[in-house]
């Protein structure tokens, strides 16, 4: 049984050599970049908007208890049933409990990364319930029995040919290369599911404390249908999704869309404040909101990295990450991939098992630059590295750095090391690029420059010593 770190290395090696995969992802993200930049440029002052969004989220998370209390009070005032889940198991039990109590048979789901996080689908299917993902991307990966590839674009890694083959195999539809026809196939199949489902399950992008509402951002309309037709609606969300006031959405909805998909606004942004109210013609008779902790409070307890809880799950950091673009979303083997996933997974699932994601980064900082709420993502990767090394130092590394530290800023020892280096360099050619090469990690794919015939320090010394002096 491979460790997560070993599994990551194996898969990363394979994916980085898969040029078809690289091309597909670069093409998809290239299109996204064009629209994102255009939409962002329409903002009169994106940096100011970003700072304000960061401050609102700071306020929300740093007074989380007060906001949650207010949210729950306002939700319950209009008939919503609120449940609290400390762990993934508790959340699954709560949701299963509701479904069993209602004697439901089929569940239609709209996209919820928290449901991936708690492995809800497996639990529901094991308990004998039919679960259908209604978001097209999620529907596709559900048929393929694989997890979503990207938190916003679950099927980004598939070509239309892949999807056509999948539909033919699983749904018996005629093959087609036309994206519109493929979408219509899914639309037809899912139509009946909405109408006949007993339970509609959703996630949420935000929760408004002031007015007791959850807010869902989408393009397809599947969440709206999931929240409109079934008699019971269940919404699962992480406790950190809070925003203090309704009007905060005037900033967050366009910013989420701009960075998430490159749109000024997504097609549907809907706020749900309860089950069907008196004199409303439709809507669920019961509305349940499940608030999920699942170790978010541990991240909250780390003031240095607490801002990682400001995340609005836009996927922007994934889209700009050169590591993500080269290894792909599945390689991470986490619910949340990309930079945000690398930052938070050690907190949510264990530092030693998941520290490798924090090391698998060149720290280029593109993620921090793009984050609409100014999370200090790449610096948190450094913080995770420090925490991991302090908790469980590697004897080899610590020794190596101690030795290095002892030599590097001591001129005489530095000179000795240089002389040794020049000596061994002569033999390097014999082993270069082979497993015997101590620099194999570098030379397996790159040439290594030699130590110069005259180093800078040697030049400087000879210059200062004047003409006729030894270097």
């Amino acid at each position: 049984m491979k460790t997560p770190a070993a599994q990551f290395k194996v898969q990363a090696t394979a994916l980085t050599q898969d040029l078809r995969h690289r091309q597909l992802i670069q093409t998809a993200l290239g299109k996204y970049e064009v629209v994102r930049d255009r939409t962002k440029a329409a903002f009169q002052d994106w940096p100011a908007a970003r700072q304000a969004a960061a401050e609102i989220k700071w306020e929300a998370v740093n007074h989380l208890d007060a906001h949650l209390v207010q949210l729950v009070r306002n939700l319950e005032a209009r008939g919503t049933k609120v449940h609290w889940a400390s762990t993934a198991q508790q959340a699954r039990d709560i949701i299963l409990g509701i479904i069993r109590e209602k004697k439901a048979r089929s569940i239609v789901k709209s996209k919820a990364m928290t449901s991936e996080e708690i492995h809800l689908n497996e639990a529901l299917e094991e308990a004998g319930f039919e679960v259908v993902e209604s978001d097209l991307g999620e529907f596709i990966v559900q048929l393929r029995k694989e997890p979503p590839y990207h938190i916003v674009f679950p099927a980004m890694h598939l070509s239309r040919g892949d999807i056509s083959e999948l539909f033919t195999r699983e749904l018996g539809s005629a093959p087609t290369q036309n994206p519109e026809e493929l979408t219509m196939i899914a639309r037809r199949v899912l139509r009946q599911k909405y109408i006949t489902a007993d339970v509609g399950f959703t996630g949420a992008n935000f929760a408004i404390a002031e007015t007791g509402m959850i807010s869902i951002t989408e393009n397809e309309g599947n969440a709206r249908l999931t929240a409109a037709l079934p008699k019971v609606m269940i919404t699962l969300l992480g406790i950190e999704k809070i925003l203090p006031r309704l009007e905060d959405l005037a900033l967050f909805l366009p910013m989420l869309a701009t960075i998430g998909t490159g749109q000024p606004l997504t097609c549907y942004n809907s706020m749900y404040g309860g089950p069907r109210q008196p004199r409303e013609p439709d809507g669920p008779e019961e509305f349940h909101v499940v608030l999920l902790d699942n170790r978010r409070t541990e991240l909250l307890a780390d003031p240095e990295q607490r801002d990682a809880l400001h995340c609005i799950r836009c996927g922007g950091c994934l889209n700009v990450c050169p590591i993500f673009k080269n290894v792909g979303g599945h390689t991470y083997h986490t619910t949340y991939s990309g930079p945000i996933g690398s930052v938070i997974t050690p907190h949510l699932r264990g530092l030693q098992d998941w520290k490798h994601l924090s090391f698998a980064s060149s720290l280029c900082g593109a993620c921090t630059e793009t984050c609409p709420v100014k999370i200090n993502l790449h610096h948190h990767l450094l913080h995770n590295r420090r925490n991991a090394s302090k908790q469980k130092p590697s004897f080899f590394e610590r020794t190596a750095f101690t030795v290095f530290s002892g030599i590097i800023n001591r001129p005489r020892l530095y000179q000795c090391a240089k002389i040794l280096g020049r000596f061994f360099q002569r033999f390097h050619g014999l082993v270069k690029g082979t497993r015997l090469d101590p620099a194999y990690a570098w030379t397996q794919s790159r040439e290594l420059p030699p130590i110069a015939p005259q180093t800078f320090k040697e030049y400087w010394r000879s210059r200062n010593a004047g003409p006729g002096s030894p270097s």
């Binding site: 590394e397 530095y414 790159r446």
Partner: protein
Amino acid sequence: MIVTLFIPCFVDLMFPQVGISMVQILERLGHRVECPEEIACCGQPAYNSGYWDEARPVAAKVIERLKDSEVVVIASGSCGAMIHVFYPELFAGTPLADAAKELAGKCFEFSDFLVTKLGQTNLGARFPAKVTFHDGCHGLRELRTYQQPRRLLAEVKGLELVEMKEKVCCGFGGTFAAKFPMISTAMGDVRCTMAKDTGAEYIVSNDSSCLMHIQGLLDRQGSRMKTIHLAEILART
């Protein structure tokens, strides 16, 4: 003024011409240059690997040696970022906290020093060639150097600058290059392809560590493209 030039170990050992070029340029501008013998590392390798306790003595020596300097110029964007951005965090809550902040305040990356501090853009340089510029990530995002190298290159006689289609990491990332060589190489390949697509003869950068990685890949591929540091171009008359 007296400019303290901090030459990190890989520039000293493998790219001395970069340091020599910087000395020539600064002296031509009428400044006295001093290069401290005793220090060769800012402490970034240990810091980046999470060994902050092991990084501190290395960094402390740098702070100590440079405390009397009027101004410090660093021959590498990533070392510059280490001192400018990360030293304050590394030494927060320690007796060297103030000294670290003070050093961070007087420390400059080379192109930033010339353009922002000295107000110089035309150095009388001549380099007739088509080049493209690769921004090292630390310089670009931690130190915010973007305009400065370009303003300097704009004044170089005979030089034609073509930009690559986007700013993206070359994949070096310090110890990352050795810990995750396959990802590092893939990222480098993507960058080299972008550079080749510009039709430039040279890839220029203000960070030798990026150039070491890119040149290493180009050499392995047998490409005719060459890398060169910004300072080397500016020193050519």
